[in-house]
C-alpha cells in the first residue's frame, strides 16, 4: 500500500482505529453490559467482612466429627446459625428457615460474614457447583464457571474459575460467590463491591469435603440438607468399604492423571480415598516430587501395580487398550488381569458428593479383579 506507507501518521491512525474497533467489538460480545451498574446487592453490608483477610486460619484444624450438624460454622458468630439445624428436618421445604442471618463462615479465605440468605449465587468451582446442587441450593445458583458441567441443570456460563473476571462476575449481581482458588484479585475485588466470597481449596480428605458441604449449607440456608447429604455419603461409603473382601496385603495402584504419567500419591484427597479401600499408590515412592508427581515410565512398568486407574479417559481419550499398547506396558499384571479401569475424569478429580460414585467404581474393580491370593477369600 504505497500511499499509506509514505505517510506514517496516517498509518498509525489506521492502526489505532482498527485496534479500537476491534477492542470495542470484543467488549460488546462480553457480558459486561453493566460495567457501571450500581453495586449489585444494595442490601449487603460491606463492613461486616472488613476483617476477612486478617484472620486466615487454615480450616484443616481437624473439622469436628461430621455427624455434628454444624462443624465449622464459626463459633464466634451468632450461635443461632447452628442451633436451629437438626437432622430431623430432612427434606423439609422450609429448609431456608434453618439458618438465621447474618452467619459467619470460616472458609479457606478466612472468616466471611453473610448478612442474608443469598438468592443469587455464582460458583466458579465445579466441585462447589456439585455440592450446591446436592444440598438443594441449586435454585439459588445463577451462574457457574465454564467447567461446571454437573449436574446438567447447572447454569454454565463462560465465566472462568482460573482467571476470574471480577466485573463479569458482578454483572450476575451475586449475593455470594464460591470459588476454588483466588489467583489474584477475586476476593479483594468482590470485597470492595460488598459481595461475600467463599474460597474452598481442594479438600485434603473426606472430612474436609464433608466440612465444605456443611459450610455451604450454612451459607446458603440449607444446613439440614447438607447434613443429610453428608450423612448419606458416610453411610454409602461405609457400606462400600465394609463389603470389600479382607485383604492379606495392601493392593497397589497407579492412578493416571494424564498420558505424560502424572500421578497421585497417598497424600492427596484422591489418594486418601484409595487408602480407605486398602490401596497404596505406587507413586508414594516419588513423594519428594509432591503430591502429583510425574512418574518415569520404566518405574511404572517395574512397580507392576495390581490396578491401574485412568483418570484421563475424557481429556485425552485414554483407555485400557491404549494403555496396554504403550511400550513396555503390555506385560503388566494389571493389563493381563484386565484390571485397567477407566474413570470419569471429572468425578475422579472433584471432591464433591459424587466421590461416592468413584469409590463404587474402584471398589467394584477391586472386588471383581482381586489378584490371586491377595484376599482371604
Amino acid at each position: 500500500m504505497p500511499p499509506l506507507t509514505s505517510r506514517p501518521a496516517a498509518r498509525l491512525f489506521v492502526l489505532l482505529t482498527t485496534l479500537a474497533v476491534f477492542a470495542a467489538a470484543c467488549g460488546s460480545t462480553d457480558d459486561v453490559d453493566a460495567t457501571g451498574a450500581a453495586p449489585p446487592t444494595a442490601t449487603t453490608v460491606p463492613t461486616t467482612v472488613a476483617d476477612t483477610q486478617a484472620s486466615n486460619e487454615p480450616t484443616n484444624t481437624e473439622p469436628s466429627a461430621p455427624d455434628s450438624a454444624v462443624p465449622s460454622v464459626n463459633e464466634a458468630s451468632e450461635p443461632a446459625a447452628g442451633e436451629s439445624a437438626t437432622n430431623d428436618t430432612e427434606g423439609s421445604p422450609a429448609a431456608t428457615e434453618e439458618s438465621s442471618y447474618p452467619v459467619t463462615i470460616a472458609a479457606d479465605n478466612g472468616e466471611v460474614t453473610i448478612d442474608q440468605q443469598p438468592q443469587r449465587i455464582v460458583s466458579l468451582s465445579p466441585t462447589a457447583t456439585e455440592m450446591l446442587f446436592a444440598i438443594g441450593a441449586g435454585d439459588q445458583v445463577v451462574a457457574v464457571d465454564e467447567y461446571s458441567n454437573y449436574p446438567a441443570e447447572a447454569p454454565t456460563t463462560d465465566l472462568s474459575g482460573f482467571q476470574p473476571n471480577v466485573e463479569a462476575i458482578l454483572a450476575e449481581e451475586p449475593g455470594l460467590v464460591v470459588a476454588a482458588s483466588d489467583p489474584g484479585d477475586l476476593v479483594t475485588g468482590l470485597d470492595a463491591a460488598g459481595v461475600p466470597v467463599l474460597i474452598y481449596d481442594a479438600a485434603t480428605d473426606l472430612d474436609d469435603s464433608y466440612a465444605q458441604i456443611e459450610q455451604l449449607g450454612a451459607a446458603t440456608g440449607h444446613l439440614g440438607d447438607a447434613a443429610e447429604v453428608v450423612g448419606q455419603m458416610q453411610t454409602d461409603i461405609d457400606a462400600l468399604v465394609s463389603e470389600l473382601p479382607t485383604l492379606k496385603r495392601p493392593l497397589t495402584y497407579y492412578h493416571e492423571l494424564d498420558p505424560s504419567l502424572f500421578s497421585v500419591t497417598g497424600d492427596t484427597f484422591i489418594g486418601e480415598v484409595y487408602s480407605l479401600l486398602g490401596l497404596e499408590s505406587v507413586a508414594d515412592a516419588a513423594e519428594d516430587a509432591g503430591g502429583y508427581p510425574q512418574l518415569n515410565a520404566e518405574f511404572v512398568a517395574e512397580s507392576d501395580p495390581d490396578f491401574v486407574f485412568l483418570a484421563d479417559t475424557l481429556c485425552c481419550e485414554v483407555d485400557a487398550e491404549e494403555f496396554a499398547s504403550r511400550p513396555g506396558f503390555e506385560g503388566l499384571a494389571a493389563v493381563q488381569r484386565d484390571a485397567v479401569v477407566g474413570l470419569d475424569d471429572d468425578v475422579a478429580s472433584r471432591w464433591g458428593p459424587r466421590i461416592v460414585e468413584f469409590i463404587e467404581v474402584v471398589a467394584d474393580a477391586v472386588t471383581e479383579n482381586m489378584p490371586e491370593g491377595a484376599s482371604t477369600q
Binding site: 482460573f162 494424564d258 519428594d288 512418574l295 503388566l332
Partner: protein, 372 residues
C-alpha cells in the same frame, strides 16, 4: 589444536597465533581460508563421549537393573550373538521398549538441536542464533497445544505431527514475511522471526487459557520431555534427521566461506543467499523433527556449538560434525539426570539442560578466555 600458551607473546606473529583453526567467526581475516580438518583426536573424543553417555544412559534408571545384566543384554542384542541374559520378560520390556528408545531419542534430538544451532549461527553469523530462532518453537508449541487441547493428541502420533507441521508453518511465515520486507542481511529474517514467534505464542497462550484442563499436558510438553512412545518416535524422526544432517554437513565448507562475510563470499563465487536458504531449510527440518517428539529443550543448540567452537576451533568443518556427537552425548546425560534426580518422578529435561548447561558454558568461556 596448536597451543599458544608457552610461546611468549612477543614472538607470536599475529597471523599465525591460532593456527587458523581457532579464528573467530566474526573476525575478519583475509589470508585465505584456514586449513581446518577435524583432527582424529577430536573424532575419537566425540565418539568416545557419545558412546560413554549412551552406555551410562542405558545403565542408569529407576528400574534398578544390574549393570552387568544390562551389558549382557546389550551384547546379546548384537546380531549373531546369543547369551543368557537373566532378564525377566518385564525387565527386558523395560530395557528394550522404554529405556533404549529414550536414550537413542535423546542422542538423536541432542545431535539435531546442536547441529541446527550451529547451522543457524553460521548462516546468520550471529552467536546468539539458536534452533528456535525463526518461529520453530512457537509454531511447534501452537501445533502441540492445539493437538492436546482439541484432539486429546498426547497419546497418539498426532502430537508430533501437529508440532512438526506447526514448526514448518512458523518458519514459512517468518521467511515469507522476511523476504517481503526485503534487505540482504539476515537481520530482517531474524526480526520477522521474532514477530512471528510472538504472534504464534499469543495464539498458543490463548488456546491454552481456553483449555486450562489440559494445562499440565501442555506444560510438560513445553518444558521438554523425551517421549515415552518408544521406538515409534525414533523411527518417525530418523528419516528427517538423516536428510537434514547430510545436507548441513555437505555445506560445512560453504559455511566457512560465509563466515568470512557475504560480500567476500560473493567474490569467491558462492551464492550466499542460496547457501543460507538451503542450510536454514535443512536445519529447520531437523529442529522441527526434534521438537515434535521432545518439546522445547532449551539451551542445547547454543551451548554445545559454542563450547566446541571454544575448545576445538571455529571452522564449521570442525563444529558441525562434533555438534552431532557431543550434542547427542550432552542430551543423553541431561536425560539421565532428568530421570534420576527425583526418581522415580521425572524432572523436565529443559530444566536440566539450562541448569547445568549455563554454568558449564560460563566455565568454558572463562577458562578459554576467547571472544566469540
Amino acid at each position: 589444536m596448536t597451543s599458544t600458551r608457552d610461546v611468549p607473546p612477543s614472538t607470536r606473529s599475529p597471523d599465525r597465533s591460532d593456527g587458523g583453526v581457532e579464528q573467530g567467526a566474526d573476525r575478519p581475516f583475509t589470508p585465505g581460508l584456514p586449513v581446518a580438518r577435524l583432527s582424529w583426536r577430536w573424532w575419537l573424543a566425540g565418539w568416545g563421549c557419545l558412546i560413554a553417555a549412551v552406555l551410562l544412559g542405558v545403565m542408569i534408571g529407576p528400574a534398578g537393573l544390574a549393570p552387568s545384566t544390562i551389558l549382557r543384554a546389550l551384547i546379546d542384542g548384537l546380531p549373531g550373538v546369543s547369551l543368557d541374559t537373566g532378564l525377566t520378560e518385564r525387565q527386558a520390556a523395560v530395557l528394550w521398549q522404554i529405556r533404549m528408545p529414550r536414550v537413542v531419542l535423546g542422542a538423536l534430538v541432542g545431535g539435531a538441536l546442536s547441529l541446527s544451532g550451529a547451522a543457524y549461527q553460521g548462516t546468520f553469523r550471529n552467536p546468539l542464533a539458536d534452533p528456535y530462532l525463526l518461529g520453530v518453537a512457537a509454531g511447534a508449541g501452537l501445533g502441540a497445544t492445539v493437538a492436546i487441547a482439541y484432539f486429546g493428541g498426547s497419546t497418539t502420533l498426532l502430537l508430533p505431527l501437529a508440532a512438526f507441521g506447526g514448526a514448518l508453518v512458523g518458519v514459512a511465515a517468518t521467511y515469507t514475511l522476511g523476504r517481503s520486507i526485503g534487505g540482504r542481511s539476515g537481520a530482517t529474517i531474524i526480526l520477522s522471526g521474532v514477530a512471528v514467534a510472538s504472534f504464534l505464542t499469543a495464539i498458543q497462550t490463548f488456546v491454552q487459557q481456553r483449555n486450562d484442563d489440559t494445562l499440565r499436558d501442555v506444560y510438560a510438553w513445553i518444558l521438554g520431555r523425551l517421549g515415552t512412545a518408544g521406538w515409534g518416535e525414533v523411527l518417525l524422526i530418523l528419516p528427517h534427521l538423516i536428510v537434514a544432517g547430510i545436507v548441513i554437513l555437505l555445506h560445512r565448507r560453504l559455511l566457512d566461506v560465509l563466515a568470512v562475510g557475504e560480500a567476500e563470499a560473493d567474490t569467491l563465487g558462492v551464492n550466499a543467499g542460496r547457501v543460507r536458504l538451503t542450510v536454514v531449510l535443512a536445519a529447520t527440518l531437523a529442529t522441527a523433527a526434534a521438537v515434535a517428539v521432545s518439546g522445547l529443550i532449551g539451551f542445547v543448540g547454543i551451548i554445545v556449538p559454542h563450547t566446541i567452537r571454544l575448545l576445538a576451533g571455529a571452522s564449521y568443518r570442525v563444529i558441525l560434525p562434533l555438534s552431532v556427537l557431543l550434542g547427542g552425548a550432552f542430551l543423553v546425560l541431561a536425560d539421565v539426570l532428568a530421570r534420576t534426580l527425583l526418581s522415580p518422578a521425572e524432572l523436565p529435561i529443559g530444566v536440566v539442560t539450562a541448569f547445568f548447561g549455563a554454568p558449564f558454558f560460563f566455565v568454558v568461556l572463562r577458562t578459554t578466555r576467547r571472544s566469540l
